[in-house]
């Protein structure tokens, strides 16, 4: 595990000094340490790790720009996604936290992120995730991408039920929205290339949002066709032309195919093509032989066949999908809706309520407990930072004690790192004025 919000040691305290109030306020009650010169040794020597992890849940108040940080919503290959509250508009948002260090390890990582931001800035549609803000922290080498808040994603909802599928009427509602969003993307010359249930988010009011344009391609506006050459999408959702390694292929028809696989998946709970490994999978897709389960209605089977047509030329266009009877049909609501599952770390919270509430009250009323206890709690925060867990998350994770055993080692590791960063941190406090530009907010037009 790696440290998330807090760079080891000194940074915690420097934050208060270095960051301009408007830009980052870390209200962690650490003031008493301010006068202390050599903190790292002090803290690490004084407390054993097991002493500190069992403290009651404390809400740590952390502001990034005008956004108050909440709990983790999910974790991707690039970094964490957390819930935040826009303290100016009081809108619920999600922030994707990207670390340059991690990005570098992923092929085309940085490039993909930059491209995604560029693309998202231009897009405004009900069914495409909306980018709200982008902030950089050069010092921590982090990037914060603020987006609309969504309660769940189709994949997560599917996995929450044994049948791994939605009732037809519910699937139909999502599919129609997917086609709306996709049509919008295509009209802007964007091929998504990675349509799948895992990239389709759902808000509390059942609005579907297409997300993750990391591998999307924007066609040149003067390009005659939608010809594409590369694809980095998820294998199970790739069409035969890609599985067979064709040099060029129609981009829009790739999205139609993956939407077809998605529709197949959310209505049957299965995949049209499978394989033990990517070679077998691509071999199967390349042959293009699949079966549609018997319990699938004739209309739906017909639409699926149109979308999963082997030859991309005869594969349905979005317009053909729109005109298909299954698309037009009003499906009776016979089965119960699959609900958004409760949060994993709090099975009681079936409505996925806002996770920044605690931080909000801590910010305005402070934490109740006083005196000795507070000291320990503070250190607990600090330890969490060192042990590489995100402070907010670790405080809350009662069940995740497995990190405990390895804590001593972790602390040792981080100790050296903490000392190493100390001189740099001292330097920072002197250049207080320069730090203003640390968060450069770039508003969308």
């Amino acid at each position: 595990m790696e440290e998330e919000e807090l760079v080891p040691g000194s940074d915690l305290f420097q934050d208060e000094i270095a960051f301009d109030q408007e830009e980052l306020i870390d209200l962690n009650p650490m003031d008493i340490f301010d006068d202390d010169g050599d903190l790292h040794d002090l803290v690490i020597h004084r407390f054993e790790s097991d002493q500190v992890v069992y403290q009651p849940h404390r809400h740590k108040v952390k502001l990034i720009g005008k956004y108050l940080m909440g709990e983790i919503l999910g974790e991707g290959s690039y970094g964490k996604v957390k819930e935040v509250l826009d303290t100016e508009t009081l809108c619920r948002r999600a922030v994707k936290i990207l670390k340059r260090r991690k990005l570098r390890k992923i092929p085309n990582g940085e490039q993909n992120v930059q491209r995604e931001i560029q693309l998202l800035k231009r897009l405004h549609h009900r069914n495409v995730i909306q980018l709200k803000d982008v902030m950089y922290n050069e010092e921590k080498q982090k990037m914060y991408i603020i987006m609309e808040y969504c309660a769940s994603e189709l994949q997560e909802m599917l996995e929450s039920v044994p049948s791994k599928k939605f009732p037809i009427w519910q699937a139909h509602g999502y599919f129609c929205q997917l086609i709306d969003g996709l049509e919008y993307l295509h009209s802007h010359g964007i091929v998504h290339k990675d349509i799948k249930p895992g990239n389709l988010l759902v808000t509390n009011d059942e609005t579907l949002k297409i997300t993750d344009l990391g591998v999307a391609e924007a066609l040149d506006i003067f390009a005659n066709s939608d010809e594409c050459r590369t694809s980095q999408g998820s294998p199970a959702f790739q069409p035969p032309e890609i599985a067979n390694g064709l040099n060029t292929f129609s981009g829009f028809k790739v999205d139609v195919w993956s939407s077809g696989v998605t529709l197949y998946n959310i209505t049957t709970g299965k995949y049209p093509f499978e394989g033990d490994n990517i070679y077998k999978l691509f071999e199967n897709i390349g042959k293009g032989v699949y079966t549609i389960p018997d319990d699938v209605s004739e209309l739906l089977a017909d639409l699926l066949k149109g979308m999963l047509a082997y030859e991309s030329d005869v594969r349905y266009t979005l317009q053909q999908i729109r005109q298909h009877p299954w698309f037009i049909k009003q499906h009776p609501r016979v089965l119960e809706r699959v609900l958004i599952p409760p949060r994993q770390d709090d099975p009681e919270d079936i409505l996925r309520s806002m996770t920044v509430i605690g931080c909000l009250s801590a910010m305005h009323y402070g934490n109740d407990e006083a005196g000795q206890e507070e000291d320990i709690a503070m250190v607990s925060d600090y330890q969490n930072a060192i042990s590489g867990q995100d402070a907010v998350c670790a405080n809350h994770d009662h069940e995740e004690l497995k990190g405990n055993s390895g804590q001593n080692i972790v602390v040792d590791n981080e100790h050296s790192q903490a000392s190493a960063t100390a001189p740099q941190a001292n330097g920072k406090s002197k250049s207080k004025k320069n730090s203003k530009s640390k968060f450069s907010s770039c508003k969308q037009s």
Binding site: Q118, I221, Q319, P325, I328, K329, Q330, S445
Partner: protein
């Protein structure tokens, strides 16, 4: 059974009463007119309740089915729209509610009201003409936009000669009517991408001749909205061939260059987004290239100083520098090569 009041009328009776009274309205004098008009409003209210149900009662499917069938068979819908101006204020709102409810009604894959209107175009034409009457313009607008949701109805509207009336409606002096007309107009041109792309392609000359008048309008709002929509239409991939045609015409380029120098900064900005397509085009026709070459120095100079305060807008600045670079690199083709 209600304790007081008369027995509720059957759907058939409601439609019959509505139809008869509507037919009377045009020829009545004041006092009688008032009486019949009140009767019409009452009937409309009952019909609306039947379709939408009440707080504690869901609408009954059978009754709704009977009512719709009766509406189609008796041809009451066209009559209702024709006489909309004669119905009182609350009654008009009920008409909109009834019309939109019927239109949304779906049986399996069929939408009977859509099918009915497809066979009775006059309903749509009457609705368009409704924009000419201040009293009912906004009601008609709401019904028209509901119709636009259906590709078949949008197609009828686009291909009707009355479509070109929108170019007048969007410029009328009453602001709310003009904006309402513009949103319907925009809906028609953007909602069904393939349909509007084909429409623009096949009716290019006529549409853009009319469109030109919007871009040259004296009305600032019209000019700005029209320019913004033009940019959206041209940059939509579905309208690829229309875009290519538009950016090959030197007159269009001249217009955009003039709009870049308009007094309003907003218009300048919107014009920029159309102008950029002309410059970015890798296959500029000779006349376009000639204009750009003739103004090369001036354009570079102009763009360098263009909206410099937008330093936050990365995309705009990237595009601007790209255009400046493109224009700087422009060369006249070798003689004989063209």
């Amino acid at each position: 059974m209600p304790l007081f009041g008369t027995k509720t009328k059957s759907p058939q009776e409601l439609v019959k009463s509505l139809k008869e009274n509507l037919a009377l309205l045009p020829n009545l004098k004041e006092k009688e007119y008032k009486k019949v008009s009140e009767e019409v409003s009452k009937t409309l209210q009952s019909i609306k309740t039947l379709l939408y149900g009440t707080a504690d009662q869901e609408p009954a499917t059978e009754q709704v089915a009977m009512l719709s069938t009766e509406m189609y068979q008796s041809n009451t819908l066209p009559l209702l729209i024709q006489n909309l101006a004669r119905v009182d204020f609350e009654g008009r709102k009920d008409v909109v509610a009834i019309f939109n409810n019927l239109l949304r009604r779906q049986i399996g894959t069929r939408t009977p009201t859509e099918e009915y209107i497809c066979l009775n175009h006059s309903v749509l034409i009457e609705l368009v003409k409704g924009y000419e009457n201040q009293e009912i313009a906004l009601n008609c607008g709401m019904m028209l936009r509901e119709c636009c949701r259906f590709e078949s109805l949008a197609k009828i509207l686009l291909n009707a000669p009355e479509f070109y009336k929108f170019f007048e409606y969007v410029e009328v002096s009453t602001f709310d009517i003009a904006s309402d007309a513009f949103s319907t107009f925009k809906e028609l041109l953007t909602k069904h991408k393939m349909l509007s792309a084909e429409f623009l392609e096949h009716n290019y000359d006529e549409v853009f001749m009319h469109y030109q008048s919007l871009l040259n309008s004296d009305n600032y709002v019209t000019r700005r909205q029209a320019l913004k929509l033009l940019g959206e239409l041209l940059l939509d991939r579905h309208n690829f061939s229309t875009m290519n045609r538009y950016i090959s015409n030197p007159e269009n380029l001249k217009l955009m260059m003039n709009m870049l120098r308009e007094k309003s900064r907003n218009i300048q900005f919107e014009a920029f987004h159309v102008f950029k397509i002309f410059v970015a085009n890798p296959n500029k026709p000779r006349p376009i290239l000639d204009i750009l070459l003739r103004n090369k120095e001036k354009l570079v100079d102009f763009l360098t100083r263009f909206h410099t305060e937008r330093s936050e807008d990365e995309q705009f600045n990237d595009e601007k520098s790209y255009l400046i670079k493109q224009i700087k690199e422009l060369r006249a083709p070798e003689e004989g090569e063209s």
